[in-house]
Amino acid sequence: MTGALIAREVRRGLHGSAWLPVAFFLLVATIVPFAVGPDARLLARIGGGALWIAALTAALLPIERLIEPDRADGVLDQLAMAGIAEEASSAAKIAGHWLTFGPMLLIAAVPGSFLVGLDSAALVRSLTSLAIGTPALAALAVAVAALTAGLPRAGSLAGLLLMPLAVPLVIFGAAATGDGESSALMLEAAVALLTIAGAPFVAGAAIRAART
């Protein structure tokens, strides 16, 4: 059943608007040179951080479609009736969501890195950092989506909730794009691992608590 759940998430993601976060990501990356000016050295220095901010904002877009439609339609109840723990269905949602979100974002990060003037070494570091960070962003998105499902103005609330939670990830992720020597990448991986491991439990508890 877990495989079917992941496949369902991927299908829903692609059927919906999988390109939207990617377009948003590229748009934010495009805005950066306009905002800070065309100074190539300055851009290259802040470019990795800019990509991370772009990735974080892109992660906000799909939140409203991750949990709420399934809660409102009773899919989460039927999954529970089928004997699937809320934690397991949340983990499947995280995996399925990342599959429609992560790889496309990584592909978009290649043109994105040119927009912010990164050289090829910095591009590789950024891709590594985003490859490690996007599963954690997907996990955070699912957890926050579960926490805000069914609330009025859930979208804006989810943004307020997700951004602070993503701070450690952004700190180490952005640092890892700039300096290959430091241990930022290891710390980013540790934060990502913690997030991915914890998110299904947060989401599962939130789904149960939201039942009426």
Binding site: R12, D73, G74, V75, D77, T212
Partner: protein, 184 residues
């Protein structure tokens, strides 16, 4: 006779209001129990409680495997009905769809189904499962006369096969049902 559902001294508070307390509910194989009572007396809540989706404030529930048909359709709206139902992996899906005359709708997207057809789809998911205990919340809502008859024969077949049914409804469900009047 095997016991499929046993709820003892159940109490449920929702939104600060006591819906029921000291409620006992039991179902043996082959039995069917009809929950009646005025709006808001806790019929649907009792069904969700038995399903395990709500926790009782007091008492405990033991039950066999159950399948639930309530107000939520829980099917992917953009998929054709056949594929959407197949997601739930009911072993008796083909049989259930023909019992409820849904065969000819297998290729119709779920979002285009009428109220009554969507109700049949929910019942089909329950019938397709092998769960011995059926939990039906207002199963007759939206069903036409043909649908009501098909449901009645499916219920009879399920009972003679050793299953049990707990249903909440404002309408009479037919012969052979025990009635539990709630909200008194």
């Amino acid at each position: 006779m095997s016991r499929l559902l046993k709820g003892e001294r159940l109490a449920l508070v929702r939104g600060g209001r006591l819906l029921f307390e000291d409620l006992d509910v039991e179902l043996d194989a082959g039995e069917a129990l009809h929950l009646t009572g005025p709006n808001g007396c806790g019929k649907s809540s009792l069904i969700r409680l038995v399903a395990g989706l709500l926790r009782p404030n007091a008492g405990r529930v033991e039950r066999a495997d159950a399948a639930l048909a309530d107000d939520s359709i829980a099917l992917d709206r953009e998929l054709p009905l056949g594929r959407a139902l197949a997601f739930w992996k009911g072993p008796r899906l083909v049989e259930a769809m023909s019992t409820l005359d849904l065969d000819r709708l297998a290729h119709v997207p779920v979002r285009l189904l009428s109220t009554g057809q969507a109700r049949r789809a929910r019942l089909a998911r329950v019938m397709a499962s092998t769960a011995p205990l059926w939990l039906l919340d207002e199963p007759l809502n939206g069903l036409d006369r043909d649908g009501v008859q098909r449901l009645a024969s499916a219920v009879a077949a399920h009972r003679s096969g050793g299953g049990a049914i707990l249903a909440a409804s404002h309408m009479p469900l037919g012969d052979g049902w025990r009635t539990l009047e709630m909200g008194q």
